[in-house]
Every structure is written in C-alpha cells, then in structure tokens.
Symmetry: C2
Subunit: 362 residues, 2 copies
C-alpha cells in the first residue's frame, strides 16, 4: 500500500477516535478502520467507558454489513489491548482469531499492562504490524489518557488571557473581551478536547459564560461539563451554564441554605461538599468522576492556586496587544511564591490574530 494511503487511513481512524471525546471517561480515545481490497469495510471508535473497544466495534460493523474481515488490514490509533481481567476481553485475541493480515497502529499504549506487549503478541501470531506516526494535532487525543496512566489523575490545562503586562482585568477599561475574533476562536477550540471546564465563582458571576465549544463540529458534540469553585454556594440559578443541560459540577465548602442546594440540584447541578477547596482535592474528585481532561479557564485566583501547587500539564498564555498599567489585576495577584518553569518543558509561541500564544507543556 502507498504511504500516502496509509497516512490517509490513519488520519481517518484518528478522526473516528475523536468522536469519543467526553464519552470514554478515563479510557483512551481510540478509532479503528478495516480496509480490504482498497475499500473501507468497517469503522469504529471507543464510545463508552467499559464498552466495546474500537477494533471490536469496527469488526462488528464490517460483519453486520456481511463482510468477512479475514485477510484485511486494521488501522487502529492505539495499540490493541492484550490484558485480561478487565471489562472487555483482549482485542489482540480477536484480531488473531479473525485472521487479519496486517495491523497499522498510531501509538503504543502507555498502560504498562499493555505497552508493546499487544504488538508483540500480534507479531508472534504472524500478523504484520507497522506504526504510523502522524505527528500532528490528531495525536493530541491520547494525552489525557497518558496522564491518567502516569499520574492517576485527569490531565490539567491552564488557560489565561492577559495584556502584555500580565494583567487580566482593568479597573479603568472594564470590557473583558480583550482578544480579537481569531484569539477567541483559538481559545474556544481548546474546549473541544476537554471533558470539563473549571472556573471560579467570580468568573461565573462576572462573565456568566456558557463554557461551551462553539466551533466547527460543535453540533454533535457532547459539551464539556462546567465546574465551578463556589465555596459559599453563590452560583446564580439563572447562570448560562445551567441552560446547556450538561450537569455542572459545583464544589463548595459551605451549604448554609438547603433551599439553594435543592434549587441548584433541581436544575441539574452536582454539588460536591469539601471541607476545603484545594486544587488537589478537586482533582482527586474529578478523577473519581472519570473526567480525563480538565481545562482551567480562571480567573486569576484559580489560575494561581494550580500554579502554586504545580498541578498542571499544560499552560496556555494568550497575550493581547494592550497594556493595562497599574489600575488592574494581575494574573498572579494571588500567587505567594516564585514559580520557575523548567527549561526541560516543551514550549511554543505563535501569533494568533492580534495576540501571542505561549504554550508550555510538561
């Protein structure tokens, strides 16, 4: 098969994988494609935590359409699993039994129970294997799962948008939308790959955001869950986040009024009482809720608390071409210490519309 075709099929498999965003819980996003005689005969993606793996979905899809998968090619974004004692049987066995000719895979499974063993097993049974490394944004989809495997917690992205002098709010010029359309589109696109968007109560009350992804492909998209840090349960009942129907999570320290609590629950909120709201406790809870990727959108207090705890995997700074001066609030007005960022971390800078985006990845 031509290299360009291989890449094209793998891209399609990754695009299938993306359909599982916000559906797989702590499981990886995986897409699979079965090709026989130059024709796609089956497609699948991992669709539900504990549900069929993408390979199995694709096989079932092909067989439902009366195709025999024997001798065909399998394109799968992640190394097929080979471990027992879990919700579903090993995919490698199925691939072997069905008599696939070759397996193209996008990356090794970071899970140490699988890592490279799935591929070894296929090879041992005479199935050809080949890694197809796309090196583009599509492969980003596995990042959340990697963090889950490595750190036993969701992946955390911090986003902050400031003036060139690091200010996030001006007491003189109180309009909030400092970025232009391109910057806002870029920032909104971040939400596409996240299960949940976290903000502080002040941001909720002042901006009343929707916290939804609104870009291309948003129509069939399961919106991320809003998370509000609201120690005194001051979330307004008429906030926009309650109008989307995607079960906002409210962390609180204090339920003085059970009437307010009932009201919030009635409109779909999940209320989590902690004795103190700390980044660590929040993240532990979100892990239990099987959320894989959290985007933290501020404000400054929330941003600073996660920086202070060094609890992040990626930070995205947007610097807008304006200077706010001293009559303003800095992104770190709540940060008590100096935090050096290791030179080992990957960093990237790009002009986005009228702004500059700095991305630092651990």
């Amino acid at each position: 098969m031509k290299n360009s075709n291989i890449v094209q099929y793998m891209r399609q498999a990754f695009n299938l994988a993306k359909k599982g965003i916000n559906k797989t819980g702590l499981n990886p996003l995986v897409g699979a494609l079965i090709v026989k005689n130059g024709k796609i005969i089956g497609e699948g993606f991992h669709n539900k935590f504990g549900g069929d793996h993408a390979e199995i979905v694709a096989i079932k899809d092909a067989e439902k359409k009366k195709y025999n998968v024997k001798g065909s090619l399998l394109f799968v974004t992640l190394e097929p699993c080979c471990h027992e004692n879990k919700k579903t049987p090993p995919c490698t066995d199925k691939i072997i039994n069905k008599g696939f000719r070759k397996v193209y895979f996008g990356s090794y499974d970071p899970n140490p129970l699988v890592n490279k063993r799935g591929i070894e097993k296929l090879k041992k049974h005479g199935i050809k294997v080949e890694m197809v490394n796309l090196k583009n944004s599509l492969t980003e989809i596995n990042k959340g799962f990697e963090t889950v495997i490595q750190h036993k917690r969701p992946r955390i992205t911090l986003k902050i948008c400031s003036s060139l002098d690091g200010k996030i709010f001006s007491r003189i010029k109180t309009s909030r939308d400092v970025g232009d359309e391109k910057q806002q589109l870029d920032a909104n696109n971040l939400r596409k790959l996240h299960d949940a968007i976290l903000i502080g109560i002040n941001t909720l009350r002042e901006d009343n955001p929707l916290l939804t992804f609104r870009g291309k492909g948003s129509k069939d998209f399961i919106q991320p869950r809003p998370i509000i840090l609201d120690s005194h349960l001051r979330s307004p009942i008429d906030s926009n986040i309650f109008k989307i129907g995607n079960k906002p999570i409210i962390f609180t320290e204090n339920i003085k009024s059970s009437i307010k609590e009932k009201k919030l629950k009635k409109i779909g909120a999940e209320i989590i009482l902690l004795n103190s709201i700390t980044p660590k406790k929040i993240i532990n809870h979100l892990y239990k809720l099987k959320l894989q990727r959290i985007l933290i959108e501020g404000g400054g207090k929330v941003f600073s608390s996660f920086i202070e705890q060094n609890l992040w995997d990626e930070i995205i700074f947007y610097y807008v071409k304006t200077i706010y001066g001293k009559e303003s609030i800095s992104m770190t007005d709540y940060l008590d210490k100096v935090v050096d960022i290791s030179s080992q971390y990957k960093s990237e800078v790009k002009k986005i519309g009228n702004s500059f985006r700095v991305k630092i990845t651990k």
Copy 2:
C-alpha cells in the same frame, strides 16, 4: 551580472554602511562599493556627520588606488542625494560626471528633498539604475534616519524583560538575570544599532550596568552613550558607565551640590539640567545632540513613562519562563492608563533560548 552577485555586492555595501554606526549623528548610515570588470575597485561609508558621503569616499578610494571609475558599477545602500544647499555637493552630479555605467541602490532616500529625485536625475543622464531590496536585518540600519526625517526626533526602542506574568523584579528572588544566555545575547545585540542607551537612576544604582555592546564586532565598535535619568544627581561616581569613556549623559532636575556636579563632569559626564524630566523634553534634547537611535532599557518607571506618552517606535518584550507572583514589581507599576496597541502595527514573536521575544513596530 548574475543576481546572486548583485545581492552579494549590496550586502557588502550594507556591511560597510554599518561601520558608520554611532558616527554619523542624524545622517543616514550609507555604504558604497565600486565594481569594474568583476573587481571591487573602491569602497566607502558615511563616516562623520557633515563629512563626505559614502559614494564620494568610494570614488576617492578607487582613484587613490589609480583606478578610473568611468564605466564602472556603483553599489550604494541609499539613493544618492541630489539636493543643494547642504554641507556637501550632490552625489548625483559626481556620479554623472565620473561616467558610471549603472547604479544599484538599496532603498529610496526618505528625505523628501531627495526621495526618488536622485534616481530620476541619474536616469535622465543615461545612467542605468536598479533597486536591490535585501529584505533582511541589514536594511534595518536606515530605520533611525527614517524616524529623524519623519518625526524630527531620534528613533526610540523600548526594551523590557519580564516574567510570564509581566513582573520585572521579585521581592522574594532578587537575582536580576532572569533570562538565559541566549536571551541575554539577543538583548545585548540590540545595543549594536543604537547611539545611546537610556536607563533610570534606580537601574544604575541597583544593577551598575556597563551598557556596552559585547557581541561579535564589538572590538572596533564605538559604544553607545549611556543616558541616565537622575533627577537628584545621585549617580555613583564609581559606576561602571564612567569607565568606558563614552561621555555618559545625565539628565537632572536638581543640582544641589556643585561638588558632585564637578566630579561627574570630571569623569566625563555631560550634565543636562531640565526643570522637569519628561520623555518629550529628553527626546528633544537628544535630538539636539544628534543622537539617532535611543534604546530605552528601563526600569519600569522609565518604560511606563515612554509608553504613557506614546513616545516609541519599537517595543521589545522578553518573557522569561518564570512566574513571579504577587511579591514583585510589574513592568507597569507606574502606568496610570490603559494603552491599546494598534493592530496596524507590525508584530513578531519568537522563541529566544528559554524566553519569548515579542517585537512590536509602529
């Protein structure tokens, strides 16, 4: 002649022009090269405010070496002048009289007394002309002269180095050298194209900088003049800037002690008394002193005052990969208003070592 040769000769002419840095006062930097039968027979650059233009220096150089310039090619970085009533006669006349065959030039003269007329005059006298647009950093050398012509003041570059949250000094971590070697080299290179480096008295007292260019080519380089804003004449006599011998300029509002004044003058300082030190008054004075390009290196108070007055042509921000938090001083702790930066201005962002450089040019 081959295009690659033309570009090569023009590059050499620009490199000659650069030898005039800090020597030409408010005049442009110009380099010239005479080529005959594929051989360079004369070279010159503008060397002194009011002195021979580069073309004349190159002609004299060729003739001194007994060459006849008739029929040869002239490479000159700036359009030859054609206006009368100035310190030197028009270069166009000389080029015509000497019988040059063709003139390659790097850019039109922004001076409205010349702009395109010099070239027209040559064409009218049967001399071929061709513009060679290098579009690289070498052509930067004309920027100062353009500002002088357009705004009747020196070109002003603001430089500021901060943490990612816009802080320039931490009260917790007091070491100043936040950037790595590459960032510092890049920042130091800025000094190469400036006649003078301006800082506030606090930066002088706290950092005791040399304010010299120390990179490649610094050996034969005339160092920029240090400029200190020192309202109460508190510049320490033993500051490093007095050890270089390049006549530091001290702006002051208050000469209480004539002994201090005498001492400073004795070690080479030029003291300028203003009733109040404002960006506008400073710049007017520096224009009178025939300084063409001023690099303003801070600190925050000086930076803010020039931002506030909108008195700049280029701003260079270096963001170092560290977060200083609240126990620190912001780059704009002295700026009372919001300053939006027009989206019309050119901007560029680049990773420099462990830092990010944002460059905004009006």
